[in-house]
């Protein structure tokens, strides 16, 4: 039984298995999914009430508010990414599993994005209406949030992996992530502003896309290394 070489599961079997398990867990605890979404919706609807209903002001501040709220909602959901796995020991089991760790980390991040990032993207046009955003700009908002939340989930997974062994690492996680997340926020909010003002905005989308591709290819390795370090 020792020296046979049985057929190994494919490269992405681990990714799919981890993502499927995390989605199943989220399905059984819907509160985790709704929390960031609720936060996002609250901030975006309370803001117009606080600053007053003047259309110019709302159109002007809309992209910024929506983007800041999306960034904070994502940060809010990040500290739970590896925490429960760390507490019940299943993170240790992932570390000794025969699948490559970066692929497993990517699977966890994919599930996190599907649970917390994608709902933000889908609900954003509804909230953008509060800010009198024109129809074209709404499409751009969704596209930038789509790319931006992917970046944020991936960057966040590195921070979450580094702080997983610490108790109350939430503040530290935000501090670690924010410098890397700044370009995403600036690009996203400015691109939507440009689109809302009928100006040329394509550059921002290309840049966000490039950032996302870079993050997908590099972040899983950083996350895997961070997980190994913080689990020693």
């Amino acid at each position: 039984m020792s020296d046979r070489l049985p057929e190994q599961p494919g490269m992405f079997a681990g990714l799919l298995a981890v993502a499927r398990r995390d989605l199943l867990l989220a399905w059984k605890r819907p509160g985790d999914v709704l929390n960031p979404l609720f936060f996002f919706a609250m901030v975006c609807t309370l803001f117009p009430l606080a600053v007053g209903p003047s259309p110019e002001q709302l159109t002007f501040s809309g992209p910024g508010v929506l983007w800041v709220a999306a960034l904070l909602a994502t940060l809010l959901s990040l500290n739970t990414l590896f925490m429960s796995d760390h507490e019940d020991g299943s993170l240790d089991q992932l570390l000794v599993s025969p699948q490559p760790l970066p692929v497993l980390a990517l699977g966890k991040t994919l599930a996190h994005w599907l649970i917390s990032g994608l709902p933000l993207v889908l609900i954003s046009p509804l909230l953008a209406m509060t800010y009198r955003m024109p129809g074209d700009a709404m499409g751009v908002l969704m596209l930038t949030l789509f790319l931006g939340t992917i970046c944020l989930s991936l960057l966040g997974s590195i921070g979450a992996a580094l702080t997983v062994g610490l108790h109350r690492g939430t503040a530290l996680l935000s501090l670690l992530i924010l410098p890397l997340a700044m370009p995403v926020l600036l690009l996203g909010a400015n691109t939507v502003s440009l689109a809302a003002g009928n100006e040329v905005y394509a550059t921002g989308i290309w840049a966000l896309g490039a950032y996302a591709v870079g993050a997908i290819s590099l972040a899983p390795y950083a996350t895997a290394a961070a997980l190994r370090i913080s689990n020693e």
């Binding site: 079997a13 240790d92 089991q93 599993s97 025969p98 020693e232």
Partner: protein, 203 residues
């Protein structure tokens, strides 16, 4: 010296204290490596080091005479770790938990139903794991170990939370595994009786 699993000149320092120094062991198929020592003597640390999760100050663990660090994935494919914390999801039921574990490994030819019967957990299949007792969860972790169908078992205090029958069952399963040519590294602070070659490491 050639052995399937061996460690040479292992040294681990945690904080101010040196847990072990110049430690070595060699394990061949059919043998049990028993790590003995009082609480806090470094049994779990040594086991984590063997699993490649803890870097040592000095020394190297070898699998087939190749350092584990250079073939991590192959080595992890050959071992399963029964840790102190079970690593099972409380919100998922037994079948969902075991199916997840199975999808990370090559398909073994071990029957899930037979394993569940053997461990007396067959009637708990549809319950979320958090509603099971600590001992029953331990049995599910044992089921995962059996289903993995790999040569090397790492067992950290396998008797925790188990009743007398459970402890007997662990001994029987270990004995069967070793007689089939498997290997086992066990950390225990109680005496165990088993009819297979035992390599002892005192910490």
């Amino acid at each position: 010296m050639t052995a399937k699993l061996s460690g040479k000149d292992l040294t681990l320092i945690r904080g101010e204290s040196c847990l072990f120094k110049g430690l070595g062991f060699a394990l061949n198929p059919g043998e049990l490596l028993l790590l003995e020592g009082r609480n806090g003597s470094g049994k779990t640390s040594l086991m984590r080091a063997i699993a490649g999760m803890l870097s040592l100050e000095k020394g190297e663990i070898y699998w087939n005479d190749i350092p584990v660090n250079r073939q991590r994935q192959e080595f992890h494919g050959a071992l399963v770790w029964l840790a102190h914390r079970t690593g099972l999801k409380g919100d998922l039921n037994l079948v969902e938990n075991l199916r997840f574990e199975a999808s990370l490994r090559p398909q073994g030819n071990v029957d899930l139903a037979a394993v569940c019967d053997r461990l007396a957990i067959a009637r708990l299949k549809r319950l979320p794991l958090r509603s099971l007792s600590a001992g029953q969860q331990r049995r599910v972790a044992l089921a995962r170990m059996l289903l993995a169908d790999v040569p090397l078992w790492l067992m950290d205090e396998p008797f925790t939370n188990l009743d007398r029958e459970g402890r007997k069952l662990v001994m029987e399963l270990t004995e069967e595994h070793l007689l089939k040519g498997g290997m086992c590294v066990m950390a225990a602070h109680q005496d165990i009786e088993i009819n297979v070659p035992v390599v002892r490491v005192g910490l």
